[in-house]
Amino acid sequence: MIPDISKIRKDFPILDQKVHGKPLIYFDNAATSQRPIQVIERMDEFSLRTNANIHRATHYLANKTTEAFEASRETVRQYINAAEAAEVIFTHGTTESINLVAFSFGEAFINAGDEVIVTEMEHHANIVPWQMMCERRGAVLKVLPFNDNGELQIELLDSLITNKTKILAVAHVSNTLGTVNPIREIILKAHLKNVPVLIDGAQGAPHFKIDVQELACDFYAFSGHKLYGPTGIGALYGKRKWLDKMPPYMGGGEMIDRVTFAKTTYNQLPYKFEAGTPNYVGAIGFSAAIKYIQSLDRQAIIAYEHDLLTVATEKLKQIEGLKIYGEASVKAGLICFNIEGVHPFDLGTLLDQLGIAVRTGRLCADPVMDHYGVENMVRASFAFYNTFDEINAFYKALIRLKAMF
């Protein structure tokens, strides 16, 4: 069934506005998605009526907050089908989730001479934390390349994984190429050699149903604000068998069992990894966003998003001199491109004047820029509240602006 997009758009009041006198067309969803009124109201209501610190006091508001926070954890658990809620750790977002694993897994399992594999298409957030850890532990960072279509060269994986490989980190969906990576196959290959796998799900979780048990991934990291929720909240899923053996990432309140100056023992999962007062308002908003998505016909939404991408790709390809970066056979959510002779910054500036919000720049993916030998790209990224009319207006705007150069 085709989802009723005009009804859905009513849930996102921010979309109904004019920018520079033109109706807003928001195509920067891969950077951050907009929040439905249901999320905003839930967070407001919570702040107005319930707010208190969690897990610490016996009073009414503290208990209500703790309940709401733990219920949010359960919502996230269900959303990704984790085996238990303790395997869901609340973080600031995907970046912190990956840093947590890079640090704590590194401390526990990685030594001098060991190897870590990332891919050439990763966001900086799935490169730099591993580099930092490798420097600290004396390990080596190895890179699985992609071909010019933007597809990972999976055939190289078997030779890339050695008996020194300790972990592999890969994006579910590339934030520049839009490639949906064959993570099942990657996980299978890695597991055959006993290498655990972290999935950067920042761009994957918004577009697909995630089942971490079926995927059998060891870690899955994602953010609330790309999933129609608030900023400053995200989650790390980790298999208990790893999380139990990993030391804490940060020290502080809540993460401890007992503190003495001689020795401190740590709390159990997931609290061991949640030092300090967590962003419980964010977690509650995150949970409201997941519930909102679950209230929609997910299959229909996924199909609709796919259609948006297909139509946009076909339209853009009609523009002479326009080059799309990333033409993998399976893509989701976004298109990166350049128009010959037009600097992305100029294009972004002019599109903005037409009310169209896109991302321009290096997209936190320098290696992808280097692969194609470009300094910048333009990225249009879509969400289920976008329409075919908007894509048409975008196409016309590009034609009009291209003529200015």
Binding site: H20, P344, F345, D346, L350, Q353, G361, E375, M404, F405
Partner: protein
């Protein structure tokens, strides 16, 4: 002409454009007309790196005046760079230090000088002022 008079001249040039499209088209035209700078100036040490567009800035100090040579890889920024050079190049350090690029605000392109745009333009103005400050001190010592 003084810096202020040139700024006024630019403001008047832009006042004829009612549509923002025309304004940007004019900036693009100015950018296009700007003679490309010698490749020897496009070096790392001259690069003012914004996240979005790159600006190269080189200066020469002769007869008490600073000559600026600059370029950007983005045309709109290049157009603005051309305007900045028209105002600030071949001026004494004192003139540069005492004048703000108010024309950008007045022609309705203020957003380009906001720090959030990270297009290198704000950094370019700062850098030009820093050079002016440095040469003023050098001149004072002589």
């Amino acid at each position: 002409m003084t810096i202020d008079e040139i700024q006024q001249e630019i403001v008047e040039e832009f006042s004829g454009f009612e549509d923002w499209m025309d304004k940007y088209a004019y900036l693009i035209e100015i950018g296009n007309e700007m003679a490309p700078i010698d490749a020897k100036y496009k070096i790392e040490s001259n690069l003012i790196r914004g996240c979005q567009s790159r600006v190269w800035l080189q200066q020469e100090f002769t007869d008490g005046k600073i000559k600026f040579i600059a370029e950007s890889d983005a045309l709109i920024v290049k157009g603005l760079v051309a305007l900045l050079l028209r105002i600030y190049s071949n001026r004494t350090p004192k003139e540069i230090l005492e004048s703000e690029p108010r024309f950008i605000d007045e022609i309705g392109l203020r957003q380009h000088l906001s720090p959030t745009r990270s297009n290198g333009l704000l950094a370019m103005v700062k850098q030009m002022k820093l050079y002016a400050l440095a040469y003023e001190k050098i001149s004072a010592k002589k």
